[in-house]
């Protein structure tokens, strides 16, 4: 038993010494290394771009005290394992893995580097030195669903979705539930694009939904193409991940903005002063991880008031987008009257509420 421990300790020591030349004689003044891996290119203007905005906010906040680095366009598989290990060996003390598919690689690499803190976005596996974090995007969906309920004359929204994973499914449900509160006959039509990123296809999907009678478009894919299509056809739409008003000045009612900077700044501070602990953080509107972009002038006063109301309610904790009584499409009771959905229920959601056409 004791020999094994000695060997392990020795190995860990060897890893530490071989990492030394890279750090270059670590001293107290040495900037604190923070690494990121992104699944897409920073230039995707979508998911990875928002995380890089968070990284830039870190640099602005801490200046020379930290040194950030990132590796972009990392395939979710062995390449991610390698990239994570590379960031760990290059002397970074805190590493953010910003895509679901980095889960197994992160857990694996974290085992080899027990002194380095890892943060994995949107995953469900944690360890002593691996925390997970995610944003409650569904809260933003509830706000834009409310707006859609008010702004849609046809009572019908088109929803361009990527893949039926829980994250996307809960977004669709939250959007629809909010819209149905405003207009009990509201319909939400979903097109599965089977891709996170194919601008031409996203635009064509938006056009098809508009042809079929939707006059509000929203999307859970990466590009602003659907907004551009909505602008061209003269219907309303919402931005995704960032304020996309520039792409569709008339159509863009508002946007669900991902803002990771607050979380990143907090976690880096904790890692620097030694108070970092593993955990699972789901931040939403209250924490500022999800934000609602400025409203378009075209929004009616009623829509504005209702959207503000929902935002305030969620922030105050008096309103949960998933509150019973709630039945799914098949009529199964999912939530009893007054009951709200637990995080576990949300993170495994694979059913649609009544009125969603998916």
């Amino acid at each position: 038993m004791s020999t094994i421990i000695t060997r392990r300790t020795l190995l860990a020591g060897a890893a530490a010494t071989s990492a030394l030349p890279l750090i270059g004689g670590a001293s107290a003044q040495e900037p604190f290394g923070v690494g990121f891996i992104y699944v897409g290119p920073v230039g995707d203007h979508g998911w990875s771009w928002t995380h890089d905005q968070g990284r830039l906010a870190l640099e602005k906040e801490y200046g020379a005290k930290i040194k950030t680095s990132f590796i972009e366009n990392v395939a979710e598989g062995p390449d991610a394992t390698r990239a994570l290990r590379q960031l760990a060996q290059a002397g970074n003390k805190l590493v953010f893995a910003t895509s679901f598919g980095f889960m197994n690689p992160t857990i694996q690499v974290a085992k080899q580097f027990p002194k380095i803190f890892f943060e994995h976005a949107t995953g469900y596996q944690r360890a002593e030195n691996v925390a997970t974090y995610n944003a409650r995007f569904y809260e933003g969906r509830a706000v834009i669903g409310t707006i859609a309920g008010h702004m849609s004359k046809a009572g019908q929204a088109g929803y361009i979705a990527s893949f039926p994973i829980p994250e996307v499914v809960m977004g669709i449900n939250a959007f629809h539930l909010a819209a149905r509160k405003v207009n009990p006959n509201f319909k939400t039509k979903v097109i599965w694009a089977s891709t996170w990123y194919d601008p031409a296809k996203e635009a064509d999907a938006a056009k098809a939904l508009i042809d079929q009678g939707a006059d509000v478009i929203t999307q859970h894919t990466d590009s602003p193409a659907a907004l551009q299509a909505a602008e061209q056809r003269g219907v309303f739409a919402f931005g995704q991940a960032s304020d996309m008003k520039a792409f569709a000045p008339k159509a863009h009612l508002t946007a669900i903005v991902d803002d990771w900077s607050g979380y990143y700044i907090k976690r880096v501070k904790e890692a620097m002063d030694g108070s970092w602990k593993t955990g699972d953080v789901w931040g939403g509107l209250k924490e500022g991880m999800v934000k609602i972009a400025p409203y378009n002038d075209a929004m009616t006063p009623a829509a504005r008031a209702a959207a503000d109301e929902v935002q305030k309610g969620i922030i105050a904790g008096t309103l949960h987008p998933f509150t019973g009584e709630l039945k799914d499409q098949k009529g199964t009771l999912r939530l009893k009257a007054g009951e709200t959905a637990s995080d576990e229920m949300l993170s495994k959601m694979d059913w649609y509420v009544d009125g969603v056409q998916a």
Binding site: A19, P41, A75, E76, P78, Q86, G101, I165, V169
Partner: protein, 358 residues
């Protein structure tokens, strides 16, 4: 004045020297170009081409990255030698992984040493079966294997998507599109405890030696080379071009399939939609980097692995964008293909000095 002269026979010296010239030209051009557009060109080149080789921590990464490329390229080179242009190794790689995973899912509850060999066999057969389609169409119907094998790659990738999002989706995986993780008896053993180096790496090296022996020292290897170089002579010599086509495609398909299975059972440990990363196409580059010779291919695979691993180092150290790695790979191949001309031609001074301009 300089002029091009055709060599009476290909230069052996240039055969080995020209890849080095190409690498040197790539480093030089890359340094100049990236310095000109505002990056630290010198350190970028150092990070991409030198750091991965001098840092022992990176060696395992190189092996892991190079092994599948080498394995696929070995098979492709056999075909290319015989003028059989299998450019659909990506599809055979994927089908090999699918077939092997099929066995893994069937045997998920079982234990035994035989499971992994059975998966490997299924991988070989899966890849070979996929390559048999272009072989049949080529031999029986004279349909170009370039086009059919390429088209079949896309079919295979879509088939993989279908499986992992549908029938093979892990029931315990939060509805994410991926198969179950392979069991302990289904993953490739590491060569040492805790090491990244898996069984696929020595196997790739052994296969290179075997290919070198078969191509250089046996009658079949001779037949393949003759059919490729002088089809008419081959007919007179009694070599059957159709049979060579079958052998070349089945061999390359089988090797690609085995590489796919090793990747699935090794670094991945499951199948996900992110499994195909274009190794089948990259291996074509490796085959040419290695001048279609088995030993050359081992070095070719290593050089390409260096650019991938080094590209990530360059991203995290000198902030070179990932796109630049692609540029380096493209430049490397461009220069390599260009310097190939030196094997068959040489630069010489013009004999007649009277014609030289003053």
């Amino acid at each position: 004045m300089l002029e091009w002269r055709r060599r009476s026979e290909p230069s052996r010296a240039m055969l080995y020297l020209s890849p080095l010239i190409a690498i040197a030209l790539t480093m030089l051009t890359g340094m100049l170009v990236f310095t000109a557009i505002g990056y630290d060109g010198f350190h970028a080149v150092q990070a991409i081409f030198v750091t991965p080789l001098v840092e022992p921590q990176r060696w395992a990464d190189l092996g892991v990255k190079a092994a599948p490329l080498v394995m696929i390229a070995l098979g492709l080179a056999i075909g290319f030698r015989a003028n059989v242009w299998n450019i659909g190794a990506e599809g055979q790689y994927v089908m090999g992984a699918i077939a092997g995973t099929g066995v893994a899912l069937l045997t998920h509850d079982m234990t035994g040493w035989w499971i992994l060999p059975a998966m490997a066999l299924a991988g070989i057969l899966g890849g070979a079966a996929w390559a048999a389609i272009p072989a049949f169409l080529k031999v029986r119907l004279q349909v170009s294997e370039i086009l059919t094998s390429l088209m079949l790659s896309y079919v295979a990738v879509q088939f993989l998507y279908y499986l992992v999002r549908g029938p093979w989706k892990d029931p315990g995986g939060f509805n994410f599109p991926q198969t179950k993780m392979f069991s302990a008896d289904q993953v490739l053993p590491a060569m040492a405890e805790g090491s990244l180096v898996h069984l696929g790496i020595p196997v790739a090296l052994l296969l290179a030696l075997a290919a070198w022996f078969v191509m250089g020292k046996t009658v079949s290897g001779f037949a393949i080379r003759v059919v490729g170089r002088a089809p008419a002579a081959a007919r007179h010599g009694g070599f059957d071009a159709g049979r060579v086509t079958w052998v070349a495609l089945l061999a390359s398909g089988g090797l690609a399939g085995l590489a796919g299975l090793f990747e699935a059972a090794g670094p991945f440990g499951q199948l996900t939609p992110q499994f195909p990363v274009g190794y089948g196409f990259t291996a074509i580059i490796v085959a040419f980097l290695g001048r279609l010779s088995p030993i050359g291919i081992v070095f070719g695979g290593l050089v390409l692995a260096v650019t991938y691993v080094g590209g990530e180092i360059a991203q995290s150290t000198v902030r070179l964008p990932q796109a630049a790695t692609g540029m380096f790979q493209a430049m490397l191949l461009f220069f390599l293909l260009a310097t190939d001309v030196l094997v068959r031609w040489r630069l010489a001074f013009r004999r007649n000095p009277a014609k030289v301009a003053p």
